[in-house]
Symmetry: C2
Subunit: 158 residues, 2 copies
DNA sequence: TGACAAAGGTTTGGTATCAAACCAATATGG
DNA sequence: CCATATTGGTTTGATACCAAACCTTTGTCA
């Protein structure tokens, strides 16, 4: 995300503060994503891991369109990510029994194992971070961050 | 949210909370970035705007390596972004007078204008968001978020 | 039932991003 | 002063991502 709007007015506007918040969030995301992908096994990317993780946590047998919607990417992007997961043997894609347009995304045992392996690989990094970022701070931040996310989610321009 | 593999029934671990925080941040970034790029003029991307904005705020005449370091991208990425800004006529790139390896990135008047235009284009979106995200909440979040960013920044694996 | 709209998925073209390999220029140390 | 290390920048190859165009299938409704 971009940087704060103005140099430093004495009293930054509400909008400027929000801009700065989004900027910080952008940098955090970039740093976290890079660090995370460094430790992921099997050449998994964050996007690929996210699909595996979601399938384990919320159940598989979802359609690509459902996955795209919940993971906030376009269907075209999901097509590409699923293709790579399939090449790696971590998911199976089958036609939907009732809707001729749809497909179903199913985890393979290897996919489930790769997800577990990824969790283990990420743990040391997270553990190290918990040393510097107190638990109660994370607990305070979560609901606030979720509010911001919810707003963006509801107000995105289709 | 059912979570077969993890013992989530009781209290999520510090690490799990942090993971969730980073996940939310990733989604926010994606939504904010997409919304932002929608309104940017001249086909500017977030990355390109960030370079223009930084040059206005912190002064231009920086080297590509300096820009890459402060904006948290690789030098290769910066090479590409600068090339596109130059094609659009928003920056000039000149050789460094003293260091034969370096170059200098200079804003053109058109670049400065494009940055102002971008700020104006982004404002309605921010203004709308401020209605849903109270100022005091943003003010509380900022220092916390900055702490997380600072930790990630210091602990990124070179 | 037939025309049209909506939804699922894919493809294409363009940008961003990283890692890694590479070259040129400068800095360092013996 | 020369060999080596470091730094600045570029290039390549891969993935992610979006928007837009496209085709197929399903849903709507007159």
């Amino acid at each position: 995300m971009p940087e704060p709007a103005e140099p430093h007015a004495d009293k930054p506007s509400h909008e400027q503060l929000l801009f700065r918040l989004l900027t910080e969030i952008g940098i955090i995301n970039q740093l976290a994503e890079t660090a995370f992908e460094r430790v992921l096994p099997h050449g998994l990317t964050r996007a690929q891991f996210t699909v595996l993780n979601h399938s384990v946590r919320m159940g598989d047998n979802k359609t690509p369109a459902q996955l795209a919607a919940v993971l906030q990417v376009t269907r075209g992007t999901m097509t590409s990510t699923l293709a790579r997961l399939q090449e790696k043997g971590f998911i199976r894609i089958e036609p939907d029994a009732v809707d001729g347009r749809s497909k179903r995304v199913l985890l393979t045992p290897q996919g489930k194992a790769a997800r577990e392996e990824s969790m283990r690989a990420a743990f040391p990094f997270l553990e190290q971070a918990t040393g510097a970022i107190p638990r109660d701070m994370v607990e305070r931040m979560l609901p606030q961050i979720e509010l911001v996310r919810a707003w963006l989610d509801q107000n995105r321009l289709e």
